[in-house]
Subunit: 225 residues, 2 copies
């Protein structure tokens, strides 16, 4: 009935709609409450589907978790892919620095954004805190490529080898300073006396995070001489 054979943009079938609704609801609940704390009934209700549909589409709760991981990877690949593909060779140091700070700014937006895309981050953070079958998917699909990319930009900006221990650990510290604004969100809100992180506050955070990165970059360059 709804089948019109278009090759390029596939028309979402009725089943696909249910499937996606389940993934979206699960992603949100897994991220905010945790996998074990979320019941399949809760997910089905939030997705306006029935409990049986989880078993039908994903084989079970664990399968749904993995489907969520794939969905996160695919979505991030779509939005961040183009920027990731710019070859780092032949980049002058100051352009590499600009790309790096821009990447940090984007990360702050993603991490701090309340709804929509921001749901991905808690899910991934929980996966990495408590490795499961879905960790490999998000690690290889997001963590590893993003970290590697940052390391390459760092090399172009400072001259330090991208894969040296020092560079890799430094990049983790740079990423960590941003991610904490999601993990410790309630502590941040309470300590700052904020009720939410609006755009202006997100800009302040981004400004400080990129400022930090530039300061560290500068210190390393000066030392390298």
């Amino acid at each position: 009935m709804t089948d019109s054979r278009q090759p390029s943009p596939p028309i979402p079938s009725n089943a696909d709609v249910t499937r996606l609704a389940l993934i979206r609801a699960a992603l949100k609940l897994f991220g905010s409450k945790g996998f074990e704390a979320t019941s399949t009934r809760e997910i089905a209700t939030a997705a306006r589907a029935n409990i049986g549909s989880i078993a039908y589409h994903f084989g079970g709760k664990e399968g749904l978790r993995e489907a969520c991981a794939h969905h996160v990877v695919e979505t991030i690949r779509t939005v961040a892919g183009p920027a990731m593909r710019i070859a780092p060779e032949d980049l002058p140091p100051d352009e590499a620095e600009t790309l790096l700070t821009t990447a940090i700014e984007r990360m702050v937006s993603l991490v701090v954004a309340s709804p929509e895309a921001g749901e991905f981050v808690p899910f991934m953070l929980r996966e990495v805190m408590q490795p499961s079958s879905a960790l490999d998917i998000v690690y290889e699909g997001v963590f590893e490529p993003v970290h590697t990319r940052f390391c390459q930009l760092w090399e172009r900006a400072t001259g330090e080898p991208a894969e040296s221990e020092r560079t890799r650990v430094t990049i983790f510290s740079l990423i960590g300073q941003v991610l904490y604004f999601r993990i410790g969100r309630v502590a941040v809100l309470r300590r700052m006396g904020w009720d939410a992180i609006d755009e202006g506050r997100a800009r302040l955070i981004a400004e400080i995070a990129t400022g930090n990165a530039r300061a560290i970059l500068k210190a390393r360059r000066d030392k390298g001489r």
Copy 2:
């Protein structure tokens, strides 16, 4: 029977031993697996106590969580208390900077240390990720005082007001860069090709974290002129 009336060092009764064993086991399990994913039976077995003892001593699972929070606060207060009480007034900038970097080094040891004290950190991070009745206890007992302390040292080192938005956000970024080595531990291990974080690796992380702090400090001081 075991009651010898010594006022200062109270002899631990049989009940106190069970109580502490339960808290310790729960702290470890809540931290590593999460509150909901941990069953009371599991805790009782790990503590070599019976299930009923949790209801008896803490009223239930939720009460045990709060007892864990109090235990964490008390322990941290004992070990970090003395350093926290050094008055920040009249501190010359370079001494404030030294105190700040020393505090970061200690935080790295605590965060990266696998067993013992390191069990506190995952517990607190989970609490802050998913606020519960125990969050207030750890927030007011640890998060808030530590953050405030860092802000005061920052003021002495840079001249920026301790309670300005900029300072408070900066301190969060400084703390976040360290905490991520616990949250993203498995990602760090995998990306670094490490099987564990031994003392030498912990020193590398501490060196980079303190180096970052000094670089940011320097940039801010230069800008302030």
